[in-house]
Amino acid sequence: MKKRYATQKFFYILLLIITMIVVAFVLGIIFYLVFKGARAISWNFIFKFPSNGMREGGILPAIIGTIYLMVGTIIFALPIGIFAAVYLNEYAARNKFTRIVRLSIVNMAGVPSIVYGLFGLGFFVLFLRLGKSILSGSLTLALMVLPIIITSTEEALKAVPDTLRHASLALGASKWQTVLKVVLPQALPGIITGSVIGIGRAAGETAPIIFTVAVFSTPGLPKSIFDQAMALPYHLYILATQVTNPPKDFQWGTALVLLVLVLFFSVTGSIIRVRQRLKKKETT
């Protein structure tokens, strides 16, 4: 018996160590990035253009480019994602076809980001002749974050009680009116969660934008959606691999700005989600 408990103790400690390795990795990366990157962050670094082949100046155009892409992504992904979720939860029959639709959403989420990049180049840039532009990049990223928005919205729609739908329909509202004026407003927090997490994801992706929008440097800030743009993740990639002897601080600083931007959105999304769950628990 003693031996069996000794075995138990051994494995408990082993699993604890394994878990701590994972945790140490995550916290280690974040603290190290903050520690190294903080030294690079200055007014000039955030608000100046790069100069001398990325060795001086700042990263303003990359920050602005990424913000444009985040806005563009959500403009395209949000309406389609919301109505896709409305279809699944409010309109679709429970049959084989709907099962295929769901399966393809899962598969869409599993398509590698570089394949989205290839598709964006083949379809938006070349076939639709949108060129390498903010528009092409946003559309490509929008497709990539669609599954996140659909899943999150659908989860929120499911949580809306049927009594609300019935009350609305009984008052003579059509199904569509019920969806727009009763169901969707109730599901708003879930929709916001999905959007915010989706935006964060779009901000951090590199592979889909290399061929659809991102460039090494631009003379000024982009003036229209048909312009190319710099972007933070691509800028970091360039600084880390293509520029010979860039100042180390610049690399760490860019990585930190990107991480903070992405984490800000994903943490915000998670907080809204947790709050909603707590609220739901209180009411039920």
Binding site: V22, I29, Y91, N107, M108, G110, W176
Partner: protein, 293 residues
Amino acid sequence: MKLPYRKFKSFLITRFVFFNGIISIIVLTLILIFLVYNSFKFFAEYPFFQFLTGTRWAPTSTPEKFGLVPLLLGSTLVTVGAILIALPLGVGAAIYIGELAPRALREILKPIIEVLATIPSVVIGFIGIQLIVPLIKSSFKLPIGLTALAGSIMLAFMSLPTIISISEDAINAVPVKYRHASLALGATKWETTYKVVVPAASSGIVASIMLGLGRIVGETMTVLMLTGNSPRIVFSLLQPVRTITATIAAELGETVQGGLHFSSLFAIGLVLFLITFLINLIADRFMGRIKNN
């Protein structure tokens, strides 16, 4: 007069919602069509057998060589390495968080692991260049540290959030009565965990590993930055390799649009798309089994 109009309107709305609803099918179909369309030139001009069995990827040599083997081998090597690291870490952490950790600790651990999922791959790649690559170089006394192993290590960690969260869900889904029955028969808590709970959650754990695998195979920036980008046939994790994903990312910008090389990159993109699609289908099979239980 009013009724037919309302009927027509509701017909249009239903169509509109349906069109949005099947966007996933439309997009997947379009991706497939455009990968095939753009790789058409390659498959028409380059012998298919030489593509599948060719051992050299040298698109700029004369004559050009487009052998899939070194790239597929590179992807496989990095993936196997990553899974070997991710499997014990992921399943171990999932068991600890799902079964052993006190509730308060669990609530701290879960968000920390979720944060890992949101760190951009280019940042992971950058950290790898700064920390892991020099470490590998010095500890194995290699001329360069950019190796398959560097990619494997970082990819393993990137796949952990997927593996841990889905495995943990599966462990949580195991009915409490199983545990009670096992404990009542005199098993220790650990014996219950690994002889009853883990086997009962096995299909979910397999699904989590398949999804993690899909993530690893499709990951681009990290491998592009860390694995040395040398499309040669090697069988060691301590050698530089070149994966399918990295090949596309590294070469597409430098090709002539519409040329054979350009087209060949869509061809290997098609191969990648089919591989990940298959992995996801298998994962979905195992996920379906959890829901049925």
